[in-house]
Point group: none
DNA sequence: TTGATTCCCACGAATTCCCATGCTATACCA
DNA sequence: TGGTATAGCATGGGAATTCGTGGGAATCAA
Protein backbone atom coordinates (compact mmCIF):
# COMPACT_ATOMS: atom_id res chain seq x y z
CA UNK A 1 0.00 0.00 0.00
CA UNK A 2 1.35 3.41 -0.93
CA UNK A 3 1.95 5.94 1.78
CA UNK A 4 1.69 9.14 -0.22
CA UNK A 5 -1.10 10.44 -2.39
CA UNK A 6 -0.37 13.17 -4.87
CA UNK A 7 -2.29 14.28 -7.90
CA UNK A 8 0.37 14.99 -10.50
CA UNK A 9 1.11 15.39 -14.16
CA UNK A 10 -0.83 17.07 -16.94
CA UNK A 11 -3.14 14.83 -18.93
CA UNK A 12 -5.28 15.61 -21.96
CA UNK A 13 -8.46 13.57 -22.34
CA UNK A 14 -11.49 13.81 -24.57
CA UNK A 15 -14.93 14.75 -23.44
CA UNK A 16 -17.52 12.75 -25.35
CA UNK A 17 -20.97 13.84 -26.44
CA UNK A 18 -22.47 12.65 -23.18
CA UNK A 19 -20.11 14.79 -21.12
CA UNK A 20 -18.00 11.87 -19.99
CA UNK A 21 -14.24 12.11 -19.37
CA UNK A 22 -11.78 9.45 -18.35
CA UNK A 23 -10.28 10.22 -14.99
CA UNK A 24 -6.52 9.64 -15.40
CA UNK A 25 -5.65 6.17 -14.19
CA UNK A 26 -3.17 7.49 -11.65
CA UNK A 27 -5.96 9.50 -10.08
CA UNK A 28 -8.24 6.51 -10.03
CA UNK A 29 -5.58 4.51 -8.25
CA UNK A 30 -5.46 7.14 -5.54
CA UNK A 31 -9.21 7.10 -5.09
CA UNK A 32 -9.26 3.34 -4.78
CA UNK A 33 -6.36 3.09 -2.40
CA UNK A 34 -7.59 5.82 -0.10
CA UNK A 35 -11.06 4.41 -0.21
CA UNK A 36 -12.36 7.92 -0.77
CA UNK A 37 -14.21 9.75 -3.51
CA UNK A 38 -13.47 12.47 -6.00
CA UNK A 39 -15.16 15.77 -5.24
CA UNK A 40 -15.30 18.60 -7.78
CA UNK A 41 -16.32 22.22 -7.61
CA UNK A 42 -15.88 25.44 -9.57
CA UNK A 43 -12.54 27.06 -8.85
CA UNK A 44 -12.88 30.31 -6.97
CA UNK A 45 -9.92 31.94 -8.62
CA UNK A 46 -9.77 30.64 -12.16
CA UNK A 47 -11.99 29.48 -15.02
CA UNK A 48 -11.43 25.83 -14.27
CA UNK A 49 -12.84 22.91 -12.33
CA UNK A 50 -11.11 21.94 -9.14
CA UNK A 51 -11.13 18.48 -7.64
CA UNK A 52 -9.79 16.66 -4.62
CA UNK A 53 -10.50 13.73 -2.37
CA UNK A 54 -13.48 14.04 -0.12
CA UNK A 55 -11.03 13.49 2.74
CA UNK A 56 -9.45 16.85 2.08
CA UNK A 57 -12.70 18.74 2.39
CA UNK A 58 -13.36 16.82 5.54
CA UNK A 59 -10.05 17.98 6.92
CA UNK A 60 -10.86 21.53 5.92
CA UNK A 61 -14.15 21.30 7.78
CA UNK A 62 -12.41 20.00 10.89
CA UNK A 63 -9.84 22.73 10.79
CA UNK A 64 -12.61 25.29 10.70
CA UNK A 65 -14.43 23.96 13.70
CA UNK A 66 -11.28 23.47 15.73
CA UNK A 67 -9.75 26.88 15.34
CA UNK A 68 -12.05 29.78 14.86
CA UNK A 69 -9.49 32.21 13.63
CA UNK A 70 -7.48 29.77 11.57
CA UNK A 71 -9.01 31.31 8.50
CA UNK A 72 -9.87 34.91 8.06
CA UNK A 73 -13.44 35.96 7.50
CA UNK A 74 -12.73 36.16 3.84
CA UNK A 75 -11.34 32.67 3.71
CA UNK A 76 -14.24 31.47 5.76
CA UNK A 77 -16.58 32.81 3.13
CA UNK A 78 -14.59 31.09 0.45
CA UNK A 79 -14.90 27.71 2.12
CA UNK A 80 -18.63 28.20 2.36
CA UNK A 81 -18.72 28.75 -1.34
CA UNK A 82 -16.75 25.60 -1.92
CA UNK A 83 -18.96 23.40 0.21
CA UNK A 84 -22.02 24.83 -1.43
CA UNK A 85 -20.70 24.01 -4.84
CA UNK A 86 -18.90 20.72 -4.26
CA UNK A 87 -20.32 17.41 -5.31
CA UNK A 88 -19.11 13.83 -5.52
CA UNK A 89 -18.07 12.51 -8.90
CA UNK A 90 -17.78 8.74 -8.83
CA UNK A 91 -16.28 7.03 -11.85
CA UNK A 92 -17.83 4.10 -13.70
CA UNK A 93 -16.29 0.71 -14.49
CA UNK A 94 -14.31 2.15 -17.38
CA UNK A 95 -12.93 4.96 -15.26
CA UNK A 96 -15.03 7.88 -16.48
CA UNK A 97 -16.75 10.61 -14.56
CA UNK A 98 -19.59 12.70 -15.88
CA UNK A 99 -19.08 16.39 -15.39
CA UNK A 100 -22.11 18.54 -14.85
CA UNK A 101 -23.21 21.26 -17.22
CA UNK A 102 -22.44 23.86 -14.58
CA UNK A 103 -18.83 22.79 -14.23
CA UNK A 104 -18.23 22.44 -17.95
CA UNK A 105 -19.63 25.89 -18.53
CA UNK A 106 -17.54 27.48 -15.82
CA UNK A 107 -14.36 26.05 -17.33
CA UNK A 108 -15.51 26.52 -20.92
CA UNK A 109 -14.87 22.86 -21.68
CA UNK A 110 -16.49 21.23 -24.68
CA UNK A 111 -14.64 18.46 -26.51
CA UNK A 112 -11.49 17.94 -24.49
CA UNK A 113 -10.14 18.63 -21.04
CA UNK A 114 -6.77 18.83 -19.35
CA UNK A 115 -6.19 17.41 -15.89
CA UNK A 116 -3.50 19.31 -14.01
CA UNK A 117 -2.09 17.86 -10.79
CA UNK A 118 -1.76 20.16 -7.77
CA UNK A 119 -0.67 17.76 -5.05
CA UNK A 120 -3.65 17.24 -2.79
CA UNK A 121 -5.89 18.78 -5.41
CA UNK A 122 -6.11 18.89 -9.17
CA UNK A 123 -7.70 21.11 -11.77
CA UNK A 124 -9.51 20.49 -15.03
CA UNK A 125 -9.03 23.07 -17.77
CA UNK A 126 -10.02 23.89 -21.27
CA UNK A 127 -6.79 22.95 -23.13
CA UNK A 128 -6.29 26.35 -24.73
CA UNK A 129 -6.89 28.18 -21.49
CA UNK A 130 -4.48 25.96 -19.63
CA UNK A 131 -1.81 26.61 -22.21
CA UNK A 132 -2.09 30.33 -21.58
CA UNK A 133 -2.28 29.88 -17.84
CA UNK A 134 0.83 27.71 -17.77
CA UNK A 135 2.76 30.26 -19.76
CA UNK A 136 1.64 32.96 -17.35
CA UNK A 137 2.71 30.95 -14.32
CA UNK A 138 6.09 30.06 -15.76
CA UNK A 139 6.82 33.66 -16.52
CA UNK A 140 5.68 34.68 -13.06
CA UNK A 141 7.70 32.08 -11.21
CA UNK A 142 10.86 32.65 -13.17
CA UNK A 143 10.58 36.34 -12.38
CA UNK A 144 10.53 35.89 -8.60
CA UNK A 145 12.26 32.61 -8.32
CA UNK A 146 13.41 32.87 -4.71
CA UNK A 147 9.95 32.01 -3.49
CA UNK A 148 10.38 28.49 -4.72
CA UNK A 149 11.42 26.48 -1.72
CA UNK A 150 11.50 22.76 -1.62
CA UNK A 151 12.70 21.78 1.78
CA UNK A 152 15.35 19.12 1.32
CA UNK A 153 15.05 17.26 4.60
CA UNK A 154 15.12 13.61 3.83
CA UNK A 155 14.56 11.45 6.90
CA UNK B 1 15.04 0.77 7.08
CA UNK B 2 18.06 2.93 6.41
CA UNK B 3 18.30 6.28 8.13
CA UNK B 4 19.97 8.28 5.43
CA UNK B 5 20.10 8.12 1.70
CA UNK B 6 21.86 10.06 -0.97
CA UNK B 7 21.61 9.99 -4.72
CA UNK B 8 25.23 9.97 -5.80
CA UNK B 9 27.65 9.20 -8.59
CA UNK B 10 27.39 9.79 -12.32
CA UNK B 11 26.09 6.91 -14.38
CA UNK B 12 25.68 6.61 -18.14
CA UNK B 13 22.88 4.37 -19.40
CA UNK B 14 21.27 3.73 -22.74
CA UNK B 15 17.80 4.85 -23.70
CA UNK B 16 16.11 2.28 -25.94
CA UNK B 17 13.63 2.86 -28.73
CA UNK B 18 10.70 2.72 -26.34
CA UNK B 19 12.17 5.44 -24.15
CA UNK B 20 13.22 3.05 -21.40
CA UNK B 21 16.29 3.60 -19.21
CA UNK B 22 17.69 1.51 -16.42
CA UNK B 23 17.55 3.37 -13.16
CA UNK B 24 20.98 2.97 -11.50
CA UNK B 25 20.80 0.11 -9.04
CA UNK B 26 21.91 2.30 -6.15
CA UNK B 27 18.92 4.53 -6.81
CA UNK B 28 16.62 1.56 -6.93
CA UNK B 29 17.90 0.40 -3.58
CA UNK B 30 16.99 3.77 -2.11
CA UNK B 31 13.49 3.61 -3.53
CA UNK B 32 12.92 0.16 -2.13
CA UNK B 33 14.30 0.88 1.30
CA UNK B 34 12.40 4.12 1.73
CA UNK B 35 9.27 2.48 0.41
CA UNK B 36 8.74 5.46 -1.84
CA UNK B 37 8.67 6.15 -5.56
CA UNK B 38 10.74 8.06 -8.05
CA UNK B 39 9.18 11.28 -9.28
CA UNK B 40 10.59 13.21 -12.23
CA UNK B 41 9.93 16.63 -13.68
CA UNK B 42 11.55 19.16 -15.99
CA UNK B 43 14.19 21.21 -14.25
CA UNK B 44 13.19 24.85 -13.95
CA UNK B 45 16.73 26.09 -14.35
CA UNK B 46 18.48 23.75 -16.76
CA UNK B 47 17.85 21.58 -19.82
CA UNK B 48 17.70 18.40 -17.82
CA UNK B 49 15.29 16.12 -16.02
CA UNK B 50 15.18 16.29 -12.28
CA UNK B 51 14.13 13.46 -10.00
CA UNK B 52 13.55 12.83 -6.33
CA UNK B 53 11.55 10.62 -4.01
CA UNK B 54 7.83 11.14 -3.84
CA UNK B 55 8.27 11.67 -0.10
CA UNK B 56 9.98 14.96 -0.81
CA UNK B 57 7.06 16.29 -2.83
CA UNK B 58 4.60 14.89 -0.37
CA UNK B 59 6.23 16.94 2.34
CA UNK B 60 5.95 19.99 0.14
CA UNK B 61 2.27 19.31 -0.39
CA UNK B 62 1.71 19.02 3.36
CA UNK B 63 3.56 22.24 4.03
CA UNK B 64 1.37 24.06 1.57
CA UNK B 65 -1.78 22.47 2.85
CA UNK B 66 -1.04 23.58 6.41
CA UNK B 67 0.20 26.97 5.48
CA UNK B 68 -1.88 30.03 6.24
CA UNK B 69 -1.72 30.82 2.57
CA UNK B 70 -4.03 28.02 1.72
CA UNK B 71 -5.81 30.16 -0.81
CA UNK B 72 -2.96 32.41 -1.85
CA UNK B 73 -2.33 33.02 -5.49
CA UNK B 74 1.36 32.36 -5.22
CA UNK B 75 0.94 28.97 -3.56
CA UNK B 76 -1.61 28.18 -6.17
CA UNK B 77 0.74 28.97 -9.01
CA UNK B 78 3.57 27.01 -7.50
CA UNK B 79 1.58 23.87 -6.95
CA UNK B 80 0.33 24.00 -10.50
CA UNK B 81 3.82 24.31 -11.85
CA UNK B 82 5.45 21.68 -9.69
CA UNK B 83 2.80 19.00 -9.46
CA UNK B 84 1.49 19.66 -12.93
CA UNK B 85 4.85 18.73 -14.34
CA UNK B 86 5.90 15.98 -11.96
CA UNK B 87 4.96 12.37 -12.47
CA UNK B 88 5.67 9.05 -10.85
CA UNK B 89 8.13 6.86 -12.62
CA UNK B 90 7.94 3.38 -11.18
CA UNK B 91 10.53 0.92 -12.42
CA UNK B 92 9.71 -2.52 -13.78
CA UNK B 93 11.09 -5.86 -12.69
CA UNK B 94 14.29 -5.27 -14.64
CA UNK B 95 14.82 -1.86 -13.08
CA UNK B 96 13.82 0.41 -15.92
CA UNK B 97 11.70 3.51 -15.99
CA UNK B 98 10.01 4.90 -19.08
CA UNK B 99 10.65 8.57 -19.59
CA UNK B 100 7.94 10.59 -21.27
CA UNK B 101 8.36 12.35 -24.56
CA UNK B 102 8.05 15.69 -22.81
CA UNK B 103 10.95 15.01 -20.47
CA UNK B 104 13.20 13.58 -23.17
CA UNK B 105 12.58 16.59 -25.33
CA UNK B 106 13.27 19.08 -22.56
CA UNK B 107 16.62 17.46 -21.83
CA UNK B 108 17.38 16.72 -25.47
CA UNK B 109 17.93 13.06 -24.69
CA UNK B 110 17.74 10.46 -27.45
CA UNK B 111 19.92 7.37 -27.22
CA UNK B 112 21.69 7.70 -23.89
CA UNK B 113 21.36 9.53 -20.61
CA UNK B 114 23.54 10.41 -17.64
CA UNK B 115 22.25 10.17 -14.09
CA UNK B 116 23.92 12.71 -11.83
CA UNK B 117 23.49 12.44 -8.07
CA UNK B 118 22.56 15.59 -6.16
CA UNK B 119 21.93 14.26 -2.68
CA UNK B 120 18.19 14.26 -2.08
CA UNK B 121 17.64 14.78 -5.76
CA UNK B 122 19.27 13.71 -8.97
CA UNK B 123 19.36 14.91 -12.54
CA UNK B 124 19.27 13.20 -15.90
CA UNK B 125 21.23 14.82 -18.71
CA UNK B 126 22.08 14.43 -22.33
CA UNK B 127 25.71 13.17 -22.00
CA UNK B 128 27.22 15.92 -24.13
CA UNK B 129 25.32 18.62 -22.34
CA UNK B 130 26.34 17.26 -18.96
CA UNK B 131 29.98 17.28 -20.00
CA UNK B 132 29.74 20.97 -20.77
CA UNK B 133 27.73 21.71 -17.67
CA UNK B 134 30.16 19.91 -15.42
CA UNK B 135 33.07 21.85 -16.90
CA UNK B 136 31.16 25.07 -16.40
CA UNK B 137 30.36 24.26 -12.79
CA UNK B 138 33.93 23.28 -11.99
CA UNK B 139 35.25 26.48 -13.49
CA UNK B 140 32.67 28.48 -11.60
CA UNK B 141 33.42 26.88 -8.27
CA UNK B 142 37.15 27.25 -8.63
CA UNK B 143 36.80 30.89 -9.56
CA UNK B 144 34.47 31.89 -6.73
CA UNK B 145 35.71 29.69 -3.94
CA UNK B 146 39.48 29.31 -4.10
CA UNK B 147 39.52 28.20 -0.48
CA UNK B 148 37.15 25.32 -1.08
CA UNK B 149 38.58 22.14 0.34
CA UNK B 150 37.57 19.09 -1.56
CA UNK B 151 38.44 15.99 0.35
CA UNK B 152 39.73 13.48 -2.18
CA UNK B 153 38.34 10.30 -0.71
CA UNK B 154 37.33 8.66 -3.89
CA UNK B 155 36.78 5.02 -2.93
C1' DT C 1 -42.84 8.55 -23.92
C1' DT C 2 -38.92 11.34 -23.81
C1' DG C 3 -34.67 12.56 -22.19
C1' DA C 4 -30.95 11.60 -19.47
C1' DT C 5 -27.89 8.73 -16.83
C1' DT C 6 -25.72 4.37 -15.95
C1' DC C 7 -23.97 -0.04 -17.43
C1' DC C 8 -21.76 -2.98 -20.65
C1' DC C 9 -19.05 -4.58 -24.59
C1' DA C 10 -15.53 -3.65 -28.17
C1' DC C 11 -11.37 -2.03 -30.31
C1' DG C 12 -6.79 0.12 -31.17
C1' DA C 13 -2.92 2.08 -29.25
C1' DA C 14 0.17 2.52 -25.75
C1' DT C 15 2.27 0.72 -21.78
C1' DT C 16 3.83 -2.77 -18.80
C1' DC C 17 5.38 -7.40 -17.99
C1' DC C 18 8.33 -11.16 -18.81
C1' DC C 19 12.01 -13.96 -20.64
C1' DA C 20 16.56 -14.19 -22.76
C1' DT C 21 21.23 -12.54 -23.51
C1' DG C 22 25.66 -10.55 -22.70
C1' DC C 23 28.55 -7.92 -19.72
C1' DT C 24 30.97 -6.68 -15.47
C1' DA C 25 32.42 -6.97 -10.94
C1' DT C 26 33.00 -9.66 -7.04
C1' DA C 27 33.86 -13.95 -4.71
C1' DC C 28 36.03 -18.16 -4.61
C1' DC C 29 39.40 -21.67 -5.33
C1' DA C 30 43.72 -23.61 -6.59
C1' DT D 1 48.54 -14.68 -7.41
C1' DG D 2 46.01 -15.78 -11.18
C1' DG D 3 42.27 -17.79 -13.12
C1' DT D 4 37.53 -19.33 -12.97
C1' DA D 5 32.77 -19.46 -11.26
C1' DT D 6 28.86 -16.74 -9.81
C1' DA D 7 25.74 -13.20 -9.01
C1' DG D 8 24.00 -8.82 -10.22
C1' DC D 9 23.17 -5.53 -13.71
C1' DA D 10 22.12 -3.39 -18.24
C1' DT D 11 19.83 -4.27 -22.45
C1' DG D 12 16.87 -6.25 -26.39
C1' DG D 13 12.65 -7.83 -27.99
C1' DG D 14 8.11 -10.04 -27.93
C1' DA D 15 3.80 -11.04 -25.31
C1' DA D 16 0.22 -9.71 -22.39
C1' DT D 17 -2.27 -6.19 -20.12
C1' DT D 18 -4.11 -1.70 -19.34
C1' DC D 19 -6.02 2.52 -20.82
C1' DG D 20 -8.75 5.80 -23.27
C1' DT D 21 -12.53 6.01 -26.27
C1' DG D 22 -16.83 5.04 -29.06
C1' DG D 23 -21.24 3.28 -29.22
C1' DG D 24 -25.28 0.61 -27.92
C1' DA D 25 -28.45 -1.38 -24.43
C1' DA D 26 -30.60 -1.04 -20.08
C1' DT D 27 -32.31 1.66 -16.30
C1' DC D 28 -34.32 5.62 -14.18
C1' DA D 29 -36.92 10.07 -13.68
C1' DA D 30 -40.40 13.07 -14.86
Amino acid sequence: MRKTFLFMDTILNKVDTKGRVSLPSDYRAIVKETNSEIVCYRSLSAPCIEGCLEDLLDKLASDMENSLDFFSQEQDDLTNLIFGDAKRYPFDSTGRIMLSEKLLKHADITTSAVFVGKGRKFQIWNPQNWEKEEARIRAEVLKNRPSLKIKPEGN
